[in-house]
């Protein structure tokens, strides 16, 4: 199971690849990704945003005298306020994330939980490197444990320690309830990255919608194993849901497998369509893909977008 912590998931090699990804992100996006992003608030910045009517009591230093000289209108100049970004990583730690691919050995394929932690660590590193604030929330059927907002690249070790200390919970997955708790605890809005397999019994959309309603910018990273997409399963089998413990005796035939694949494809296509419709960033990956490849894929997608 992925709760096994005897093998370090964040070794020196991992850290090197984090640094490489950080440099790469700066070169590719020139500040367009996480850090140095401008908020939508206007304030005391130096970059002009627009005009508004002068109201009594406004600071006359911001009155646009040139306009007044030409047209006689009293317009106040507004500037975009710059502030650092808050990055929240919501990591699914339900038991379904710990299911490993029985067909693959551990060398070539990680559990979803491990890959999710690696992706969360990489995103946190990149954000911290760009002077953004990062907070990590582990959730299952609700908020389980969280790491408060940290800032600065030197806090990456505490982030990694936090991620290493996480364990999968055996409860159900409930993103909606989790987001309810998250919204009330988050100090301010920002980028909310959801790392999960999205096998949410109650549906994950309500949770995402609530994030959007609370002015967060959701980014969905969906992880599943190759076996979940195309199970190598035939004959009489007793299936056990690792979260609920519900058992089901089935006879899997070739025809049933085709139906399963069709359903799974429809499930992923539905997620992609939802994210595209709502303007959300979405990344889908399998556990046989390294975390840095996933990050690069995200960067390329953002660059194209």
């Amino acid at each position: 199971m992925a709760n096994d912590t005897s093998t370090p998931i964040f070794d020196s090699e991992f850290l090197k690849r984090l640094e490489y990804l950080s440099l790469l992100s700066k070169r590719m996006f020139q500040g367009q990704l996480l850090a140095q992003r401008r908020t939508m608030q206007t304030g005391g910045g130096i970059e002009f945003s627009d005009h508004r009517e002068y109201i009594h009591g406004d600071d006359l230093r911001y009155l646009d005298w040139n306009v007044y000289a030409r047209h006689g209108d009293l317009l106040l100049k507004r500037f975009q306020e710059e502030e650092d970004l808050h990055v929240y990583v919501l990591l699914d730690v339900s038991q379904s994330m710990a299911v490993e691919d029985p067909a693959n050995d551990r060398q070539s394929s990680l559990s979803k939980f491990t890959l999710g932690r690696q992706i969360a660590a990489a995103l946190s590193y990149i954000a911290l490197a760009d002077l953004d604030r990062v907070s990590i929330f582990a959730y299952a059927d609700g908020m389980k444990v969280s790491m408060p907002l940290v800032r600065g690249k030197d806090r990456i070790l505490s982030v990694l320690r936090f991620l290493e200390s996480l364990k999968c919970q055996s409860e159900r997955t409930d993103l909606k309830r989790t987001v309810g708790e998250f919204v009330s605890r988050a100090p301010r809005t920002g980028l909310a990255i959801v790392v999960s397999d999205l096998f949410d019994q109650a549906g994950f959309r309500d949770g995402i919608d609530r994030l959007r309603y609370a002015q967060f910018e959701p980014h969905v990273i969906q992880i599943h194993t190759p076996q979940e997409a195309s199970p190598a399963l035939l004959g009489d089998v007793q299936l056990v849901d690792c979260e609920t413990g519900i058992e089901k005796k089935v006879t899997v035939t070739e025809r049933k497998l085709k139906q399963y694949k069709k359903l799974f494809d429809a499930f992923t296509a539905d997620i992609e369509r939802y994210c595209r419709t709502q303007g959300l960033a979405h990344t889908r990956t399998t556990t046989d893909v390294p975390f840095d490849a996933v990050l690069l894929k995200m960067m390329r997608a953002a660059a194209v977008g």
Binding site: V99, K112, L234, K249
Partner: protein, 657 residues
Amino acid sequence: MSLASPDKLLWLLIALPIIVFYILKTRLRRRQVSTLLFWEQIFEQKRQRSLWQNLRHWVSLLLQLAFVAFVGFALADPLWNSQDDRGQDLILVIDNSASMGAVDPDTGETRLSQALSQASDVASTLRNGDNIALITAGTSVRVVVGMSDFAPTVVEAIEAVALTDGPTKIHEAVGAARRLASDPERRRIVVFTDGGVRGRDQLSEKPDRDEDTSSIGRENLIAEDVRLIPIGTTADNAAITTFQVRRSTVDPIGYSLLVEVVNFSEEPLETRLTLNLDEVLVDVIPLKLEPGERFRKQVDSTSQSGGVLSGVLKVDDALVVDNTARAILPDRPEIPVHLVIGGENESFYLNRILESIPLVRIVTDPAEASLHIFANAIPDSLPDGPVLFVDIPADGPAISVNGSDDAKQPAWQIGPAMENPIIAKQETSSPLLRHVQMQNVILAGGRDITVNENLGTANVLLETASGDKVCVSIERESGRILLLASDLDSSDLPLRIAFPVLMTNAMNWFMRETGEIRPALATGIASQVPWDVGDSEQTMLGTMIDPQGHSSPITVQDGLAKLGALPHVGVYQLTTDDTNAPNDTAIEAAANTETTGERVAVNLTDEVESDLRIPEFSDASSAPLPPASRSPWFYLVLAACGLVIAEWALFQRRVVA
């Protein structure tokens, strides 16, 4: 239904471990999955089949138990009701007559090959305790394999059954089969035939008790122990049904051919009949025949050299063998005769008679002659070759006794002249007196002839009431001799019809009937062919070479070669060469010494065989097909195999996959 080996049912106990293992096997593999979301959607749709889900394991178990049951019962060898426990004597009768060589236009195979295939199927179903025999019924009845319990021998023999050109003999074959298997309870005779027998239409009717069926032998075929299996389909055919030659009544060296062609088809036929003599075209007869119509014609022609006269029907029909027929025309050479007349008598009658015999030519040079005739004269020594003495004046020339030249004796001694020598006794079996009646004839000048034994074997032809021998034939190595002690000029013999007949017979006897036209034979009929090869009283061995080149020994007795039922059409060669010689040597010898051999033409000329209609056999009173196509164990094994496949496809395949 009963079981031949009920003890083998013990194998059914295999079902017990299967049940045990099946109970142990029903534990399912557990597999942990991230979510049941998708599986529940899939199997939610099939909830109505949950009953099947519950039963499916039991169905699999039942299939396996059924498999064991089928195999167990197959080992126990169950028997159909038609197969009694005592076993059966199965006799397969295969018709390999000429009509079985008809080619089915749809399949391109002959009726015989279809019959062999079906017979092999039947033979391969033999059970323990059964006996089987094989009889062929074409041309002649032949027991190919006697009663045996080893079916592979019969199957092998079936494959070796060859087609013959003879008529169907299934009546005789069924009789032989009944003699072969005497127990009527065990006996089952299966006849594979196209029904090419006389009265074939009556085979489809159940015999009436009051009806006299002995004429067609139908009671033989429609019986409780006989099963007739029809082979082939009705086909169109045209055939030469008669092809015989005889001497022409008007031309001494001519011949007269009688040919008959019958259209057995259901369609009108327009073709032509080509007559060839040794590959030389003689005549072409155009034919236009309605269905069932027969064409008959006599063709007169002349040929001195002789040869094989063949008639070929130019038609593309199902049966080829009856489209060609052959006849042998003998060589008719001239007979140079050296006539020596003694005294002043001119022997007028003898001259006239000789002139009247066709092909006889009087020559003056004795060296040219092949026949010497002495009338009222005795030569100093007997010439070689055939010699005729008429009106014998004195004893015969001296001949050496026992090969010694020192002691010589006359060839014959002549008695004193008799008064009114009346013929009281004549040798009727001699070919010299064929169609000749000489009793009560006064043979003027008749004298008693006593033949020296050293001359040869004498045969008294005419004898007077007083026991005097007035006409004697002598067989000697260097040529035949006929002694007729009669003065032709003073007796009334030349005035009788018998005299020219006697002289003609004498010419044929001297020349060994080389110019006689032999009738063509039919296949499947034993016959005797006149063959003058030596002393008629001795039994000789000869060799017969069939059209395929195979030689077989024949016996010659009383001037007749005894031929069995000949199986193939064509020209057979009779020869006196070494019968032990290899085939090719015998053929070569026959080809090189044609004059020493005799040729015999053999044709099918059988309307029954040429008629290719297939009757519908009556099943009412015939025996059930003995092996019921296959034994039950065969079907049980088939069913078991089917179950294995079904069980694998329904259940095991998923696990294997």
